[in-house]
């Protein structure tokens, strides 16, 4: 196993309300030295919740400003400072789909683009749901869609289902439930 290259310097390059760009000088084992840029996210990361109810996935349809259209996917959100993945999953589940999970299971943690983003998304299966709606910070009410688990083939063909981490969440859920 190769050992990790040495990070010689880290420099703050840009900062906005949401994003923080860092420059790195990196020395590889073969003495090659290169400059990288990366996006630095909060240490806590985000949760993506897969709520399951009566053999359906509970999905949301939400405006996605990055791609300028509505996106079909799983409820998710940043973990607040001091919050655990469990607390964040329970909070976001109530805010975004109006369900309190009785059982939450951490399936795995995934990255977006490991070479240039530190961001981590923790994938949480949420079961034993009961109705409990709390107020989130969305600009408009989210559309909530119950999608039969058995129709997962159709979901990955849906043009509005596009996020890599949503595929990961679906695959890990199907495996966890013995459906793959």
């Amino acid at each position: 196993m190769k050992k990790n290259p040495t990070i010689l310097t880290k420099t703050a390059l840009a900062k906005t309300k949401l994003f923080q760009v860092e420059g790195l000088d990196i020395l590889f084992d073969n003495q090659t030295q290169v400059q990288f840029e990366r996006l630095v996210s909060s240490q806590q990361g985000a949760v993506l919740i897969v709520p399951i109810m009566e053999d359906c996935l509970v999905l949301i349809r939400e405006y996605a400003a990055g791609v300028e259209r509505y996106e079909l996917g799983f409820p998710k959100g940043k973990i607040d400072p001091g919050e655990s993945w469990r607390e964040a999953a329970i909070r976001e589940s109530q805010e975004e789909v109006g369900f309190l999970p009785g059982l939450v299971t951490l399936l795995d943690s995934v990255t977006l683009a490991a070479s240039y983003m530190s961001h981590q998304t923790h994938i949480v299966l949420a079961e034993s749901l009961s109705h409990s709606k709390t107020q989130g910070d969305e600009p408009e009410p989210l559309e909530v869609i119950h999608w039969p688990l058995a129709d997962w083939h159709k979901l990955i063909q849906h043009p509005e289902f596009s996020e890599g981490r949503a595929y990961a969440a679906l695959m890990l859920t199907l495996k966890q439930l013995g459906l793959l």
Copy 2:
């Protein structure tokens, strides 16, 4: 179907060599007006290639500065200006794993984080491979790993296999090949 909100203004907020942050003023159908930030990527996007050889996935193991460790995944790279997804996939495949694909198939295009990134990754299945190594721009030679398709369960459990879009590529490939 709800119609898309109106983008009232777009403002450049920050720009580095690799990243470009944009501020948006958005008016929703319910007259709520909000400010968003997003990362703007090149129109062309990137390709992620799934090379298949003798019932194996051809993977690479590469240092990932975003997470400060080696990452196991598929060869990929930006589409150069003027290049098609097909040309980029054929080029990157030779640079990163040393194989010229005789057959390339576009399986789907995925996003990273649709709400705040415009980035698109085109997932390309590469088959009928023959040896052809060309020089890429990597700081050190990439480790190339042949991973049996039948062992995909072990791959998604591997701690170095973490990118959401790699899960998407794996799932779409297994489906395309009739293995899911």
